[in-house]
């Protein structure tokens, strides 16, 4: 078994385990920490696929940013203070059935499709290619993204700002 395959199975176990822990753990704060592990594991999958830039973004934005937001959302929420931060997952059976159904659908769609034995080699520096493509062919979506982020930021500030 090659190192790639070994790493993939290790990451797969970590990902599935931490994702299950996110939904099954009773303590809300622990769920956030498991989420951080799951997001970091996803970055590992990106690394396996030679997408270093995507892995860095995953760590920077998701494991670093989103988890921070969730943690801060918990600690500034008045209603959660002093309570035992417990969550109970009701209807675990129903959730398992839905998850199993989705898995069956995916497996059905993939069945009969040939899996490429080796992934194609990436030519050149992927990060540089992303930069060149974003700044030439996709420059308009790039600038529109700034507008989108501006709208999101202003909306968040408007709703979250302290009362006068």
């Amino acid at each position: 078994m090659s190192a790639d395959v070994l790493a993939f199975w290790f990451l797969a176990i970590v990902l599935v385990g931490s994702a299950l822990a996110v939904v099954l753990t009773k303590n809300l704060f622990h769920a956030v920490l498991w989420l951080a592990l799951a997001l970091t594991g996803t970055a590992g999958v990106f690394l396996l696929l030679d997408a270093e830039f995507l892995a860095a973004v995953q760590l920077l934005l998701y494991a670093g940013g989103i988890v921070t937001i969730v943690v801060f959302a918990i600690v500034v929420t008045e209603r959660l203070v002093g309570e035992r931060l417990s969550q109970t997952s009701r209807r675990i059976g129903g959730g398992a059935v839905v998850a199993g159904g989705v898995l069956a659908l995916l497996l059905n769609a993939m069945r009969g499709q040939p899996f490429p034995a080796a992934r194609p080699e990436m030519a050149g520096d992927l990060t540089r290619l992303i930069g060149e493509t974003v700044l030439t062919r996709f420059v308009l979506p790039f600038e529109l993204l700034a507008v989108l982020m501006l709208a999101a930021l202003m909306g968040a500030i408007y709703f979250a700002r302290p009362d006068e």
Partner: protein, 117 residues
């Protein structure tokens, strides 16, 4: 992928160091607990109240600002790599991008978000 072998070894050593040192300490250390020893350590100060206090909402607003400029920083890396090939056009495109997001910074400034109450 082969270049990450050193990273894997590093990770394994980090985890092993934590597990081994905690396990060895557990086996070797004497166990004589008393009340003052079991108290939460707060730099020597007497702890009071609960650890679960409500933090000021200002933390959340700073986190919101952080995540937007975090996303901005993500675009700077590929931009820098492509800069040499594309020249002035790339600079103009990024300046426009930064200017649009700078409006958000200006709005946060106007709403006095950056002042700490």
């Amino acid at each position: 992928m082969g270049g990450y072998l050193s990273v894997v070894i590093y990770l394994v050593m980090i985890v092993a160091f934590a597990i081994v040192s905690l396990a060895v300490a557990r086996v070797l250390r004497p166990r004589r607990p008393f009340a003052a020893k079991l108290q939460t350590y707060e730099c020597g100060a007497e702890p009071f109240g609960q650890a679960w206090v409500q933090f000021p909402v200002g933390f959340y607003l700073v986190a919101l600002l952080f995540i937007v400029f975090d996303a901005l920083a993500v675009f700077l890396f590929p931009w820098v790599l492509a800069l040499r090939g594309l020249g002035m056009w790339a600079v103009v495109a990024m300046v426009v991008f930064l200017a649009i997001l700078g409006l958000g910074w200006f709005y946060a400034f106007r709403e006095r978000l950056l002042e700490w109450q």
